[in-house]
Subunit: 179 residues, 2 copies
Amino acid sequence: MRKLNVFEMNRISIDEFKKSKKNPLVVVLDNVRSMYNVGSVFRTADAFRIESIYLCGITSCPPHPEIHKTALGAEKAVEWKYYKEALEVVKTLQQQGYEVLAVEQVEGSTSLQDFAPAENKKYAIVLGNEVKGVCQEVVDNCDGCLEIPQFGTKHSLNVSTTAGIVMWEMTRYKLSPIK
Amino acid sequence: MRKLNVFEMNRISIDEFKKSKKNPLVVVLDNVRSMYNVGSVFRTADAFRIESIYLCGITSCPPHPEIHKTALGAEKAVEWKYYKEALEVVKTLQQQGYEVLAVEQVEGSTSLQDFAPAENKKYAIVLGNEVKGVCQEVVDNCDGCLEIPQFGTKHSLNVSTTAGIVMWEMTRYKLSPIK
């Protein structure tokens, strides 16, 4: 099984990315402290061609060397906006027809393996601070909660790993349209 | 949707973890440079209760403060071993009945959304260096290759995000037995 070289990977340019049909998914990062996590989310968002990242609260915005260190330039391709209040973002997205789902461990959450995104729906997922998660008021205003089931000693996945897993789940259902 | 507090999360102790039935999956990290990536893989491996992590080549081993920074103690729960040569690990795992799959972009790879793990099979996944990936000789000795399809400008997911996505895929098929 020969490894592909970089010219065989069908990578698209930043300009092609911006014009391309996107995966109808918005990722909201609220009060994410680590710029490495922010950069890593940009990199995954680029890979899965997602629509936009909304950065809220204390979450840092590009351009920044520490974001670049893990985004590796993906922060120039993926659309992003900054909003002070995640709560406002949630309400705005809902008005625009998005189903907004917090990724959090809550009573009555939907386990990720039981979640099947509807074909013609636009989704937004909200991820919160590394320690505190998504704040209760934001959770209360979301349309639902997704939870990655965990069976270990910690029950606290890294926020960029969590974002990667949920973005992948949202993407694998929709692979044909963005191929 | 009330957020769960830490006492409601059914976290198990390190001792309970060590005695528990594991997800029959081994993660092999070959020449992974960043200790943050190593720590993050430990944390995900803890969450999905995987069997073992094999650290090879230049990959650092616990205990180490930088691994701890992202593992947050998960490195004390998840079993691990160090081997100098990933190639030997691949062959040993195959002799022990594991199907060994490199996670890499190669000719004839299986796209992750097309992969369905067999119910009674033990799997090992091999992830490589942040820049160079899994080396060709190791790839050639694996039983197959899994590839996460990518549609962006980079085609280079972070190694701990990649590990997280593939561990999740392996886990969601087997959720009932480890619940």
